[in-house]
Structures are given as C-alpha cells and as structure tokens.
Amino acid sequence: MVASFPPGFILIFGALLTALTPGTAHKAWSLIAPLAALAVIWMFPEHGRIVTHWLDYDLVLAQFNLPTKAFATIFALMAFAGGLFAYHQDRGKPGSPGYEDRRVELAGAQLYAGSAIGVTFAGDLITLFLFWEIMAVGSTLVVWAGNSEAARKSGRRYVNMHLLGGAVMMAGIALHVHASGSILIPTMTLGGELVDPVRMVVGEGQPWRVPSLESPGSVLMLLGILINAGAPPLGSWLPDAYPEASPSGTVFLSAFTTKTSVYVLLVLFSGCNILVWVGCLMAIYGIVYAILENDMRRILAYSIINQVGFMVCAVGIGTGLSVNGATAHAFAHIIYKALLLMSAGSVLFMTGKRKCTDLGGLYKAMPITMWCGIIGALAISAVPLTSGFTTKSMITDAATMTELWAPVTEQGGQLVWDSLLHPSVAWFVLVAASAGVFLHAGIKFPWFVFFQKPAPKNDDRKLDPPWTMKAAMILFAALCVALGVYPQPLYDILPFQKPDGGELYHAFTYAHVINQLQLLLFAGLAFFVLLDRLKRTLTITLDADWVYRRMFPGLWQWVFRPLLLAAEPFHKGLIQGLPRAAAREFGSGPAAGEAEGARYRPWGVGTTVLLLTVVLLVFLILNLFVD
C-alpha cells in the first residue's frame, strides 16, 4: 500500500522526525527519506488518485499530471544530494560560517522538498496552494538557518514576499474557483493535425484551453506564480535571500521554489503567449545583474533567474516540443545549478570568503571542487556532451517554429502576428542569452574563483571539503555528463511521448553542435578581450528590492510620518477636543480620563458615549429612509 501514499508526505514527516530525533541520527534520516520518497514516486500507479474530502470539496492529494514524474524525480534526487552535501557541514572550523548545528536547516529543507513534491502531485488548486504555502515556510527556515544577522533580515524579507505572493495566489484561486466552479487542475492535451508531438500545440481543438488573461482570477494566479518564479521586478527576493543562507542551504534553495513555479506554469498556463516575453525579460535581467555582481553565490543566484527565463519562455511557447523542453531543462538545470552552488559552497565553507575580489588562485588547493565547478559551468553553458546542451536546444528549437505559437499572417498587405513583439525576437533573445550565460556563469565564475591570480608558490594547502561534500559534487557532475551523452532516460519521462515510441528528440545534429560551439567560442573570446572591464570591484548592485528595503522606509520616514505628525492636531481635535467641547457645552465636568491624563493616555468615556449617540442616530436615520 506504499504505492497509494501521497509521495510529498514522506519528506514532510521526515522533516518532523529530523527535528525530533535526538543526537546525530537525524543525519542518516536526511539521506534515507529522499530515497524512500523517490521509490514511492516511481511506484505510484500511473492512473492512481488519492482523494480526500475537505469542506465542500474533493481534494486530489496525489495524481500524475503530465510533467509530474520528471519534476518529482529530480526534487527527490536533489533532496538526497543536498542531504549528502550538508552531511558534514557542522564539522567546519569553529567560527567558520558552517560550524553551527544544522538540524533546523535539514528539517526545513526536507519540509521544503516534500512540499515541492506535493505541489507536483497535486490534482487540484487547493491542495496545490496548501503545499505551496508549506514550501514558503520550509524555505524560510532554510534561509534563517544561515544563522547570521544578514540571513535573519533577508529571511524576513523573503518570507514576507512569499506570504504576499501566497495571498495574491490564493485570491486568484478563489476568484477562479468562484468563476469556473471547479478546483481541478485541467489535464493538458495536445492538439493539431500532425502526429509528431514535437510539432503539435498544446490544447488546440481540445478541451484544454489556454487560460484567458481576461479573467482577474487567472491574472492574480499568474502574478502569484511569477513572484515565486523570480520574474523581475517581483523576483528580487531571490538574489537577496539565497546567498545569505549557509553553504548547503543555498544548494537546497536553488532547486525547489523557482522550478516548482515552472511546473505550475506548465500545468496551468502552457501556451500563454505573454510568458514568452516575461521569460525573455528574465533571461536578460539575470545576465545583466550576474555580470555586474561580485559575490560568487549571488552571481549564481542571478543566473537562476536567467535560466528560469528560458523555461518560462518555453511555457509561453506552448508546443509539445517546448513543454518537453521546459521540463527537461528544469531537470538538467537543477542538477548543474546545484553542482555550481555546491562548488561555490565548498569554497565558502573552506575559506570563509565569498567575494570574487577576495578569491582566486585556488586551482591547486581545491582540485576536485574546481573540476566539479567547471563541469557545472560547462553544463550551464550548454557545451555539447553536457546536460545543458541536450535540454536547452529543445527550447531554442521550439522558439524557431514561430508559425506554431505565433503565426504571422498577412492581412491587407500588413504583417500581423499574434504576440506582443515579432515572434522571431524571442529566438534572438534566447540565443543572445545563451552567449551571456557562458560569459557570466560558464567562464566568469570558475575564472574569478579558482584562477584569476596564480596560486601561491609551493601551494600545498589541502582545501577540498569533507568527503560527503565531494561525493555529492561528483554524483551531480557525473549526472551532468551522463545526461549529456545519453539523455534517453530523461526523455523517457517527459510529458509528451511519440505515439509510436520513436526517438523523441535528436540533439546532436551538425547544425546544433556547430551553432553552439560558434556561440561559445566567440563569447569566450569576448570574455578574455574584455577581462579588464569585467574585473569586479567591490560594488553593490541596486535591484528592485531597493524599493522595499530603502524607498518604502524612506517614504515613511521622510514623507508620510511628517504628514501624519502635521495632521495630528487636527486628529486630536476630532477625537478628543470635540467630545470635551461638547461636554463643556452641556455643562458637565472634564472628561473622566483627564484627571490622570498625565500618567497614561486617556481614552474617554465621553468619546464612547458621543460615538454611541452618533451610531444610534445613524440607525434612526437609516430606518427613516427605509420606511
């Protein structure tokens, strides 16, 4: 009966056990629970549904939606690798950022991973929302486990942002449910005349329809999801909070929130064209800020936004190929991004430094960390034979087939297309962004962290981290290469399969490989030509979070507060002066509160009686009009 158990709950219960188990037993649990969850995910019957009754609704706690298997699998894998990476974190040097007891972080991470898996299995909007909120709680715990003042503060901004996003999402769901009368997540189907899923469009001529953005419910839901996806300007919580977590905390954080949003966008908003442009904006935004940034983990955080941009774009395109591409890319992205952050985390863990300007010359001292970092960097740059190449090319390919997602037609001598900008712009942006990725994550990260300056002479420091961290990195590095060489196992769990079971997608065409290599070579050339300009100085980049970190407090301090203070006499006159004047007028003594007014602020009996009279008056007048 294990098979009919909602897979998300395993890790959520695991989190409870982790929090409550005494001693160091919880560490072993942090490795077993994800594997158990993985087993349950794969044993879950294909058409199984777990339904429970709540309020007036039948909630579908678990079912396979089309992209569920790929997302749930990678989430469980990630929880395992993250647990492995975090295993020995409390063995760091006293005083180093990784020294404290990490129990809270592990429990939080399991809660986080479990609820993310729960979201992917949810069969209705309410279940989805419940897990969505638990995810916010779990991830906040992970941020706070960074145990520094900065982590505490940015965790606070983080949780506020997510609760706000949750409220927006909930309002959207409520409106949607109210309008449509159904809480179920619709099943995605492909339409069109062709047999090849690669060239078919989601929902054409089928019961599934692209959600119309004319209904306020859909708009609010989309907004709520985009906040979690990190779309600018709502996504500045991401580079704000992620780098403040502990070295292993950031690894956990990088995987779940944004990719869960991609999943939810896939099941709810596939083919919603506006997302193409949102995705393009994210891709560009991530690159610009990543190039400007100095903190190594913040560079990688911005590049998450860039990569998620690709996926969001693919969701917007909404063809069979792009949906497969978004799913595959999310899968591959979680692996190489976690790998990069593990490598950055190892550097931080062993050296305690995080800024590019302070680092460099570590290639001799940390060879394994360096190689794993480079493999991750190659994968994120989509170098052929890495996982990035076999997945990202699906998205760029899908973007070229503009006739499917935004047909350009001729009407009265004018070219008209069904999207915001000319559809081919999307392809150009994605290609340019691919080059940019190589620039900031592919070369910049390893160059500034491991090379940049020569290693000290006779460098015999042994700085590679404890074996569990190395094991986690090697595991993911191996996966990056394996999926790049032989992507078939991943292709097999993608949402849309060919009906005849034929090969879904062939990445290694001459055109692809040559295209990609050209792009990378020139981008690499550009990096070293411009190296002097790209050298980071100690700077702070300004992002949209400035609005709520500086502008709102500033507005309060310099604008609203003075205004309120100026209005205070007026307010006092209304609340206190008027009743007193009335009392004097009608001949009674000073209000009862005034006698001991000096000791604490009085609230007058007189005020209440006055209000009471007013309320009575209102009732009487109302009734006069009614009759």
């Binding site: 929302f129 606070r156 309002a171 409520a174 009862a592 009996v605 009575l616 009734n623 009614v626």
Partner: protein
C-alpha cells in the same frame, strides 16, 4: 452521552447549566471560612462545577443534533407566554458548548495564575464571582425570555467588572479600566433594556418565539407598516448590543479591560463575553425581527463598521507595546469579522460568523493563556518581557505562535476555515471589496503577529541573567488543548462546519 446521565437529570439539563454555576458560585463563598488552603478548595470546587457544566453542555448539543429538535424547559411549568422558558437548539447549544469548554479549561488554568496575581484572602471571592460570571454568560445563551436575557446580562456584566477590578492587586490601572467598563457597560445595558421594553409594549410578551409570532401576525395585518416603535426598538437594541460585543467604534472599553484584568479572567472573558454579545445580536436580528422587519440597511451599516474595525483595530494592534493589548485590539478586529459575516445575511456569511465564534474562542483563549503564563514566569506582559523568551518557554511560545498563525488565517489552522467561508459569503453577494478587506486583515494580522514572533524567538533579552522557567503543566495543558483543537479543526473542519451550517440554516429560516 445519554449513557452518562440518568433520564431524570436529562430533562433538566437546560436549567442545570445555569443553576450549577449560580449556586456553585454562592457556595464557593464559604470556602473563605477555611483557614489554610481555602484557595485550593475554592479552585477545586470551581473546577468540578465547570466540569459538570461541560458534560451537560456536550450532552445537550449531542441530543439536539441527534433528535433534530430544540430542547425546551419551562421554569415552574408555566406556559411560555407567562413564565420563563429555556430552550436549546443547534445555535445556542453550540455557543453554550463554547462557553462551557472555555469555562472549564480556563478554570483549570486559573489555579497557578490566580495564586500569583490575586491576594490570598480574596481567592474565595474570586472563584465565587468567576462562577457567577459563567452562570450569567450561559444563562443569556440558554434563555428564550428577553427580560431574562437582560437580568442575566447584568449578572454577567457586574461579575466581569468585578473580575477585571481584581486585577488591581497587580496593576492599579485595572480599577480605572473596570470603572470605565462599568459605566459604558451599564449604558449599553440600558439601551438593551429600553429596546426590550419597546418590544414588550408592542407585542405584550417577553418570550422570543411568542414575540416573533406576534410580530408576524401584526406584519401580516399591516399594523407594522408605519410603526415607529419597531425600528426605534431595533435601533436601541443594535446600539446596546454593538457596545456589548465591542463592535468598532464602540470598542473603547475593551482594550484596557482585557489588558489589566488578571490573566485567567482575560482568557475567559476574551473568549466568551463578546461571543455571547454576538449571539444575542443573532437572536434579535434573525429570530425576533426576522421576516417582519427589513434590517438590510442596518446590517449594511454594521458591515461598514466591521470593515473599518478590521482595518483600524488591526493597525492599532501593530502599534501596541503591551502584548495583552495587541491581542485585545486583535480581538476587536476578530469580532469585526464575525459581525461582517452575519451582516452579509447569506448562508456562507452566517456560517462563517458561527464558526468564527468557536474558532476565535479557541485561538484567542489559548493565546491569552500563553501570555498569562509569561506574566506568571517573567513578571509582565510588556514587549520587553517577551524578548527572546521563546528559548526559555518554548512550549508556551510555540502555542502562542501557532495561535498567531490561526489569527493570520494560515491554511490548516481554524482561522483559515472561518476566512474561507467569509470570503465565499462575500463573493456570493458580489462584494469583492469585502473579500479584499478580509485578505487585507490577514496581512495586517501577519504584521502584528510577526512583530511579536520575531521578538519572542529572535530577540535578545535585556537581562540575560534573569531566570525564567517553562510554565507549569496546569497552564500548558489547557493552553495546548485549545491551540491543538484550533489546528485539529483547521485540518478537519467537518464537525464545526456541520454544526455551524445547522445553526446558520436555523437563523436564516425567517430571513433578515
């Protein structure tokens, strides 16, 4: 439940729930004669009495739900038109149960709290008045006679004034708070009495059902068409009741009274007194005037007051420097939710109101208990006393935090269920603005709860050497029963939702 109670007692349950605490309270005075340990005996006595009430209340609601009919009890066997009738149906059976649960748990809780906060020679007085207050609150709920409502309202009010004033042993400001509460409470009660008097003049009867029947008869014969007495009585009642249930802007008595009362009193009164006020409003608006008097405009005005109350009192809560006061202002906001629900006068809205009476009683009762535990161990309830106290009193503060989540309306807590029905009710009427205000209220609650949570768990105590222990079990157990129940009813809302649905249907039979 029938297995517990013999048939002979069973028929008398509706009157027993009032007589038990009434005479129990009088007898509690005699514990003052015991030289040593009198306080303990008084507490034990109160615990037994309130425990018995709980059993009675539970079996009454059980019976009402199984038979589907109201239990009626005629005092002295007089017909209802002449004598006093008590009756228990799906609505007041539910409210009585709420009062009985809170009454019992807060009595258990009171033991250590009262020991610490009230002078030794006054314990017998305290428990005597305490039981009388419970008698009054349950009496208002159970009686079907409007004048009896007034009498019992006065009993409960006078005893609550006394209970608040007993906080004077700890903080002299309790005396002023109590005095002001007394003045305003009496004014409110006067309005209610006037309203009842007008109704008596009009219908010649005091029994609610009879009153309703007379009004229906007069309505059908056209006598009510231009009758000013009806609406003047309605207006007087609404104003008096609004004050009693602390509806914004007539809530000014509440924050100080709650803040300076002894901790156990706050837990009892905050969870029950205003709820009983809401119950009375239900009865007058729906049971008596339902179908004969078009109160939609008045309800609209109440709804407006409630909307303002949600926003303004939550903002006031954000600014407070005393945790009890934060919770007191939050109570004003939560009562506004309840009023908002029934002012919609549709099924979801009234259901939300009835559910929230129960859910808020659980949450706020539990939270005030947690604050009282801090008052006992750390010596105060100011914000400074809470700095970093989460590490010293983890269980108490965990309860406080979970309760806070309920106030915000986090999913899987009881607060979420109430808000869900409220939002559905507002949307059924097409009032998007109200749905928005409910959500805004949640955000504001997040702000004031978050501020406390941060201080509790992350703050650094001013005096790190100060020894603070975890609260005693006699406080932790009732606190966690309430908070645990609030989570349990958030996860599985079946029972509360069904009871509230039944009560809402009963109320809406006659229309607003």
């Amino acid at each position: 439940m029938e297995l517990v109670l013999p048939e002979a007692i069973h028929a008398h349950l509706p009157v027993l729930v009032v007589l038990l605490p009434l005479f129990g309270g009088l007898l509690a005075l005699f514990t003052g004669l015991i030289q040593r340990g009198g306080g303990f005996v008084a507490w034990l006595w109160s615990a037994i009495i309130t425990g018995l009430i709980l059993v009675c209340a539970a079996s009454m609601l059980f019976e009402v739900h199984t038979t589907g009919e109201a239990m009626v009890y005629r005092l002295g066997s007089w017909p209802e038109q002449y004598g006093i009738g008590y009756s228990v149906d799906a609505l007041n059976g539910y409210v009585i149960l709420v009062v009985a649960i809170i009454g019992f748990l807060s009595t258990i809780y009171a033991k250590d709290s009262v020991m610490a906060e009230i002078a030794r020679d006054r314990h017998h007085l305290f428990y005597s008045v305490w039981l009388l207050a419970i008698a009054g609150l349950i009496g208002i709920t159970v009686t079907a006679d409007t004048f009896n409502i007034y009498v019992l309202l006065e009993i409960s009010s006078l005893t609550v004034y006394t209970l608040v004033a007993l906080g004077g042993d700890r903080d002299r400001r309790a005396l002023v708070a109590s005095l002001k509460y007394l003045i305003l409470g009496s004014i409110g009660a006067t309005f209610i009495l006037l309203g009842i008097g007008y109704l008596l003049m009009l219908t010649g009867t005091l029994n609610m059902n009879d009153m309703h029947e007379q009004l229906v008869r007069m309505h059908q014969s056209g006598e009510l068409a231009n009758n000013r007495t009806v609406f003047v009585s309605f207006a007087l009642l609404m104003v008096g009741l609004s004050l009693k249930m602390a509806l914004f802007p007539l809530h000014l008595w509440l924050p100080n009274a709650y803040t300076y009362a002894p901790s156990a009193v706050t837990a009892l009164v905050a969870a029950t007194a205003t709820k009983v006020g809401v119950y009375m409003t239900f009865r007058f608006v729906f049971t008596i005037y339902g179908g004969v008097y078009d109160s939609s405009a008045d309800l609209y005005f109440l709804g407006l007051c409630a909307c303002a109350g949600v926003v303004i009192s939550s903002m006031a809560a954000i600014r407070q420097m005393n945790v009890k006061k934060v919770l007191a202002y939050s109570s004003v906001g939560q009562i506004a939710y309840i009023v908002l629900g029934f002012s919609l006068a549709n099924e979801s809205g009234v259901t939300a109101s009835v559910i929230h009476i129960f859910n808020h009683a659980l949450i706020k009762g539990g939270m005030f208990m947690a604050v009282g535990a801090v008052a006992l161990r750390a010596g105060g309830t100011k914000i400074e006393d809470f700095k970093g106290i989460g590490r010293k009193m983890p269980l108490t503060m965990a309860a406080f935090t979970v309760g806070g989540c309920g106030l915000i309306g986090v999913p899987l807590t009881a607060g979420f269920i109430s808000k869900w029905y409220l939002v559905v009710g507002a949307m059924d009427e097409g009032y998007w603005g109200i749905a928005f205000i409910v959500l805004l209220g949640g955000v504001l609650a997040l702000v004031y709860i978050w501020r406390l949570v941060e201080i509790i768990w992350f703050g650094k105590p001013d005096d790190p050497t100060k020894q603070v222990r975890e609260a005693p079990l006699s406080m932790l157990i009732p606190m966690w029963i309430l908070i645990g129940a609030s989570v349990a009813f958030g996860v599985d809302a079946g029972w509360t939702a069904d009871s509230a649905h039944a009560a809402a249907e009963l109320l809406l039979e006659g229309g607003p």
